[in-house]
Amino acid sequence: MAAPSNRRPGYSRRAQYGNFFGYIAAVIGLVVGVLLLIVSTGNASAFGGLRSAALDGAAPAAKAAAGARTGSQTLWSALSGYFTSGARVARLEREVAEARVKLAEQAALTEENSRLKALLALSQNNQRPVVVTRLIGSTSSSSRRYAIIGAGTTQGVLPGMAVRSPLGLVGRVIEAGHSSARILLVTDTASSIPVRRASDGIQGYANGLGNGTVQIRLSTTGVNPLKRGDAIVTSGSGGIYRPGEAVAVVTTLTNDGAIARPLSDPGQTEFVAVEALFDEAALADAPPMSASAAPVTARTTTARPASPAPRGARAPGQK
């Protein structure tokens, strides 16, 4: 039967009022939603506590599911390896990929080492990660690229910390709950990482494109010196990311830079390490000075001749 043209549910006054107030509630919800949206787009960290609490609530189940994910992966690779030895090939390929990254990082370190020797004032101390944890999920349908890790403030995770996998940089923490934290992946469009080419140190930025790749924009102008296959590592400018961490490999060239593929595919990453704030390490080592001036010393890793040589005692390039 066709619905009546008016929405009157019948002669029951109660049902009529219920229907009417239902629409009122829907419109009020809509208006409240618009207000929420205005608040949260104006201030990205608004409602962060609410989100973190919700994530903490969902984290135990998600952690169990993440365990099942890696379990099923190994089960699958064991099965496929039984028939085709594909697992062994996959493992070897992964080892080669890791070795290639390590090689790029070594080259970057050697290059950095020579530069640091020239400066003879700065050193890079080898920080232990704050915590090693699982990636337990990611925003799979939103256009923003966030991932969730299974460690929070109780494990010492704080917003701003860099997150990396054995293959390279994954992202940075932007919200930390008690037992889970939300990280901004390097492929998010709001992510911009100061980088340099591993081989010679050409500076630039790696901006996320939101589709699984990053755009490398160089700080220099003129002929584009990048080539396909170039390894891109963090430069350490700005003090958020430690220098020399592998980020991406150039895949296609553009006019003013290149499109690069991040080395650490978060979908294939099981464990990630959360690293202490690079800035804070610099602050702890630096001689007493004003807090606003201190991060500048952290930034001098690449360029300026070190000011009063605060950390000369440690050998350069210790990593």
Partner: protein, 183 residues
Amino acid sequence: MAPPLPSALRQFGKPRINRTASPVLALATPWLLVMLGSLSPTWPVIASAPLLPPIGFLLLVGWQQLRPGLFPVWAGWPLGLFDDLFSGQPIGSAVVLWSVTMLMLDFIEHRFPWRGFLSNWVVAGAFIAGYLLLALQIANLAGGANSPLVLLPQLAVAVLAYPVAAKLVGLADRFRLIPIRTV
């Protein structure tokens, strides 16, 4: 030849004289299923590009098309708020978009009461496209800078996934009406 099922199991889903559906199950299943879909960011799928369909939204549209009137017309904002907590969108995005969706689907239900599966799919596809596009714009307002082209693969996946979601809703609808309560 399959072994015969135990008679208790064979009788399980069938209507019986002194059995009726549990009201708790009948009322809670739709809400729980949509919320479960909203929890998809905590599923063990890590994506470096948006590819998975908005599962909570698909299930909401599916319920509204299979059982119009089962959800109250204001159901968009509580379910949307729950979705916002996990989706990574700025809070309020799904509250607004899901509320609008519920109101518009309600209007369509009253305006075009006779629909087939194909017309449902077309309507759902239009809603999915609009939802993804507006959600992208809202995410861009809050700091992102994605081009709408990023959405194309996700849109294709989501439109193709809609029949699966509708089927899932149908299964859940049968589950919710299993007569287990003695009267």
